[in-house]
């Protein structure tokens, strides 16, 4: 997957977890939590969905890398390059 495809994939997951949020104006370089009402359970859901959909494991110590769309893509890119 390319960097852009990963961002789209994460957005798709967020749209399922937080169906009431308007994701059209989301800034990719700003923390998700500053733009959306996401709590730590929502981030756990994102991790579970990433595992389910793309067989990628995000260890607890790396949760910080999921802060913004950009940082998600940078972090996940090497893990998803063959998917």
């Amino acid at each position: 997957m390319t960097n852009d495809q990963i961002k789209q994939a994460v957005l798709q997951i967020i749209s399922v977890i937080a169906p009431d949020e308007d994701l059209s104006r989301l800034k990719s370089d700003v923390a998700l939590r500053e733009q959306l009402e996401l709590d730590s359970m929502d981030f756990l859901d994102i991790v579970m969905e990433l595992r389910k959909r793309y067989k990628v494991e995000v260890p607890e110590a790396d949760y910080g890398h999921l802060a913004s769309l950009d940082s998600c893509a940078t972090y996940l890119e090497p893990k998803l390059k063959d998917k």
Binding site: M41, L44, D45, R51, K52, E60
Partner: protein, 490 residues
């Protein structure tokens, strides 16, 4: 011949869940929606664990723990159950206090508590604001040595009346005390302060019925009257369970039984390392409860006097007094007809915290006498606020720590799980025994309906992670990790 409650159960599952409390049911649902084969085993005839109810002659229905939980429950139910379940969650607006220090009604949210603290208790607005901010910001990575007492000393020194306002409802909600880590208070209190106290309209029976239907639709194999006697291990890993005398194999087992029962009874001490057992032995169980159930006769009604009523004649907040048999500090939950729309019935349930040790040592005769005394104290107190109410009550019944022990099989009848240190042991169980997980009321924060459901989700995530690994790898090494959560789940 006795009925075979396990008829049709398969020989093997991906996951077996022991116990159908809200954590167990939620974990089962999550794992089933991930595509795993799941068997849920419940020893009782009803599902729900402490989220339960019972019926009595005369058309009475009594809820054990329906009132109330924080607003976070709406989002949690929508995500992990269904929009339909989430839509039945409604606010309880009348929370009333009456004790020697203060007497008023509150909506139990930040705006109204700020108003009470500033205008009634005359605390500077800045202090109140700072306190709320601090409590809201507390998380697991904070220093856990500061106790709730020290937190209160910092913001409200010499104000036992304020301490009582802040602490008493939380002590009823989760059995915590002034000497527990402040984080246990901060998280639970902040969750309630967000938007107040909520309940499930339709009653516990409706909620559990809907959850059961969802589990069935997601192909979870649900069994009641199914008592798990043992968790089976092979080469240090989970291999299945023995239930009603029958062996059922599984790749993973998630226990929603009490944490201590899981370790000492279901698995057995011989399977744990001495250091794990030392830590497990240091885990304190939380206190137990008594409840008195008052059913109002059909055709009779009581006026609206609030939904939750905290009453006491004790001079100030005092954990020992709260748990003692001579308790005067009680919570009354009032269930009006709109609890179950279409019904015309009223019920009142009074809860008090209790020590198991006080009740277990009684002779049968003394036990009956103490129960009668408990009921009389509860009804007499209510009569002072609602004159004539006792003549309208046609069903009276009490439960004690013995009753909680009987129905939940929790060690010492614990009705709020374990103290704070239990959380780490619960989370590390799978590091001691591969494939064995625990979800249930632990650590004070992971208790209550919302805490239990969220913890079920957190541990289902761990089971999923485990099941996706190559099951042939050797048993994992023991190590310690910080809890996965950085903030409130309760």
């Amino acid at each position: 011949m006795t009925r075979d409650w396990l008829k049709g159960v398969k020989d093997e599952y991906d996951a077996i869940i022991i116990g159908s409390g809200l954590a167990g049911m939620t974990a089962a649902n999550r794992l089933a929606t991930c595509g795993y084969s799941v068997l849920l085993l419940e020893h009782h005839y009803n599902f729900g664990g402490m989220a339960t109810w019972f019926k009595r002659k005369g058309g009475h229905i009594f809820d054990i723990s329906l009132h109330g939980f924080p607003i976070g429950m709406i989002k949690t139910c929508r995500k992990y159950w269904s929009a339909d379940i989430a839509e039945s969650i409604v606010q309880l607006k009348g929370i009333r206090f009456d004790n020697p220090q203060f007497s008023f009604t509150t909506s139990f949210d930040r705006a109204d508590f700020t108003d009470k603290l500033v205008n009634h208790f005359k605390i500077p607005a800045d202090t109140v604001e700072e306190f709320f901010k601090f409590a809201r910001g507390m998380n697991f990575y904070d220093d856990q040595k500061i106790t709730t007492r020290e937190l209160f000393e910092r913001y409200f020194p010499g104000r036992p009346d304020v301490w009582r306002l802040l602490m008493e409802p939380i002590a009823y909600a989760n059995g915590s005390t002034l000497d527990d880590p402040a984080i246990t208070f901060g998280i639970v209190f902040s969750n309630f302060m967000s938007k107040g106290v909520y309940t499930f309209q339709g009653g516990t029976d409706k909620l559990i019925t809907k959850m059961k239907a969802t589990l069935k639709a997601n192909k979870v194999d649900l069994r009641h009257h199914a008592l798990v006697e043992k968790v089976l291990l092979e080469q240090g890993r989970v291999a299945g369970v023995v239930c009603n005398g029958r062996t059922i194999r599984a790749k993973s087992v998630l226990s929603n039984a009490n944490l201590k029962s899981t370790i000492h009874k279901l698995v057995g001490d011989e399977h744990f390392s001495p250091e794990f057992l030392r830590e497990a032995a240091a885990v304190r169980l939380n206190s137990s409860s008594c409840q008195v159930y008052m059913g109002v006769r059909k055709g009779e009604s009581i006026p609206y006097v609030g939904d939750l009523f905290f009453t006491s004649t004790h001079p100030e907040f005092d954990t020992e007094a709260l748990n003692s048999m001579a308790v005067t500090s009680r919570t009354y939950s009032f269930y009006y007809p709109d609890t179950r729309p279409g019904s015309d019935r009223y019920a009142i349930v009074c809860s008090t915290n209790a020590n198991y040790a006080d009740w277990i040592t009684l002779s049968e005769e003394d036990y009956r006498r103490e129960k009668d005394k408990l009921i009389k104290g509860v009804v007499d107190t209510l009569e002072r606020y609602l004159p004539g109410v006792s003549a309208k009550i046609d069903h009276l019944e009490a439960s004690t720590p013995r009753t909680f022990e009987y129905y939940t099989r929790h060690m010492a009848g614990a009705s709020f799980g374990t103290k704070f240190e239990g959380l780490k042991i619960s989370q590390n169980l799978s590091k001691a025994i591969g494939g064995l997980f625990h979800a249930g009321s632990v650590g004070i924060i992971m208790s209550g309906w919302l805490g239990a459901i969220n913890y079920g989700v957190i541990m289902a995530n761990e089971v999923d992670k485990y099941l996706r690994q190559d099951v042939a790898v050797p048993a994992p090494v023991r190590e310690e990790t910080p809890p996965a959560m950085s903030e409130s789940h309760v």
